[in-house]
């Protein structure tokens, strides 16, 4: 080590644990920004079928005629897919590393500082990944259509969360809450990783992380629950 040049050290540091979690932080921020926009789109369901379907249609024609039909959406999808893959790759690499770093476990363990949120990041992440696959098959491609397939995004949404498909709603509710917990620690962690954490700012960072996580959780729960409870039809 002592003799290796800094050029080699730099390239090594690009693959370090700190670089990995920075990649997680940046991709995480991209995904949180997407969730904010996604939540806004979902809330259009309360404005009725025309507004919701119009919003969905508009997403496909953004940038026309400079971009082809659906072009903007595909750019976003590619960025999101890349973000998800990088996020998962870094998570798996760090998870494996953490497992190897403590080959003999403690017989007695005690939680001093860790929260439910920070302690379940990895399991929550797995659940969210599975949910995303189901969610895309359900409401985007409509291959899974509990209440009947439709060309209208609004009808897909309303059909999918009818009271008789309470288990679909339940699954959504549970995973959206898991997303909330994931974001609670994730936003705090991302800001810390990217260097924003100072002792004097920790209170604000915690409030910001909790507030964003809470707003997104409630925002995503409102639509499906309203359909299931018959408030939107």
């Amino acid at each position: 080590m002592a003799n290796s040049t800094l050029t080699k050290q730099r390239s090594e540091a690009l693959g370090s644990t700190v670089a990995l979690k920075s990649a997680m932080a940046v991709t995480g921020v991209i995904l949180v920004l997407f969730l904010v926009v996604h939540m806004y789109g979902n809330l259009n369901v309360f404005a009725g079928q025309a507004a919701f379907d119009n919003y969905s249609h508009h997403l496909r024609v953004i940038g026309e005629p400079m971009l082809p039909h659906g072009g903007f959406l595909w750019i976003v999808r590619v960025v999101l897919l890349a973000s998800v893959l990088i996020h998962i790759y870094a998570a798996v690499a760090l998870w494996r590393r953490a497992g190897a770093a403590r080959p003999v476990r403690y017989q007695a363990t005690k939680r001093v500082q860790r929260s439910y949120s920070s302690y379940t990041m990895r399991y929550g992440g797995v659940l969210i990944a599975l949910f995303v696959v189901f969610h895309i098959l359900h409401l985007t491609t409509n291959h899974i259509a509990p209440g009947g397939a439709s060309d209208s995004p609004y009808e897909r949404f309303v059909n999918g969360f009818q009271p008789e498909f309470w288990y679909v709603t339940l699954f959504y509710v549970l995973t959206v809450i898991a997303v909330g917990f994931h974001l609670r620690h994730g936003i705090w962690s991302a800001l810390t990783t990217l260097g924003a954490n100072r002792q004097s700012r920790q209170r604000s960072l915690n409030i910001i992380a909790t507030a964003i996580a809470f707003v997104l959780t409630v925002g995503f729960l409102l639509g499906p629950l309203s359909v299931t409870l018959g408030l939107v039809e």
Binding site: M1, A2, T5, L6, T7, Q9, R10, E12, A13, L14, S16, T17, V18, A19, L20, K21, S22, L94, R97, A98, A100, A101, R102, P103, V104, R105, Y106, Q107, A108, T109, K110, V112, Q113, R114, S118, Y119, M121, H185, W188, S189, T192, T193, L194, G195, A196, N197, R198, Q199, Q202
Partner: protein, 249 residues
């Protein structure tokens, strides 16, 4: 006080190791945790048994040599070093579980003693400044803003005990590394090597098979010297800056 101890016994680095239960009668609440172990060891020696090996040196809470995981907490229930933990923190009749620091980077040498050489190698990699020798410069020759001096000093109080690694769910040594990076990075003397330092120290940290940090904060919560978690944020910022700058020396 009568205490039941469950202690990790391991004859050597290659031994598998196991938990052994001992009774320690007549413990004074004013004893330190290490003194209680001394009492146990005297008893074991009289009975012709091998005493329990544990690290200790100053017993004043400043050297960082002692350190065991007590009932799942590094250094036990008080936020201090094991030598400054007193038996009054426990109740008569308690069963106390004592284990060594658990990390691949800290292999067990014997019983509760681990090899913390990995920390030394992280320091060797970059935890220094280059200073000319000769007569000491005037104390006011290099002004340091009070806030920077305080932050550097807070980080410099790290005694390298390894509790941060022991407590971390990922067995990460990032708080230790970050304390050194922050300590030297806040001071003018640390600037020439600042970028190279963080790169080299993080690489050495990873090479020693420590886990990655996930900002949970267990490390700072158990740190007997109260090294703040924000030093890790400082390290991240320094590393990203060093990588972005493209400087190679």
């Amino acid at each position: 006080m009568n205490i039941t101890l469950r202690v990790w016994r391991q004859k050597g680095p290659d031994d598998k190791g196991r938990m052994v239960t001992y009774q320690v009668p007549d413990v004074s609440p004013d004893m330190s945790f290490l003194e209680m172990l001394d009492v146990l060891n005297e008893k074991l020696q009289l009975e012709g048994e091998e005493p329990v090996a544990f690290d200790h040196d100053c017993r004043e809470g400043i050297c960082g040599a002692c350190g065991v995981v007590i009932d799942g907490e590094a250094h036990g229930p008080e936020t201090t070093t094991t030598c400054q933990l007193h038996m009054r923190s426990f109740k008569d009749g308690d069963t106390i579980t004592v284990e060594p620091w658990r990390a691949k980077a800290f292999p067990v040498i014997k019983d509760l003693v681990v090899d913390r050489g990995a920390f030394d190698r992280i320091i060797q990699a970059g935890g220094y400044i280059s200073a000319p020798t000769g007569t000491a410069p005037d104390a006011h020759a290099m002004p340091v803003p009070k806030a920077d001096a305080d932050r550097a000093f807070d980080a410099a109080t790290c005694i390298g005990c390894g509790a941060c690694v022991a407590a971390c769910p990922n067995a990460s040594g990032m708080l230790f590394t970050a304390a050194k990076v922050t300590h030297l990075g806040m001071l003018p003397q640390g600037q020439p090597e600042r970028q190279a330092r963080v790169i080299k120290m993080v690489n050495q940290h990873d090479e020693e098979d420590f886990g990655g940090c996930t900002n949970i904060g267990e490390c700072a919560a158990v740190c007997p010297k109260g090294i703040p978690l924000d030093t890790i944020s400082q390290l991240n910022r320094d590393l990203l800056g060093a990588l972005a700058s493209g400087r190679t020396e």
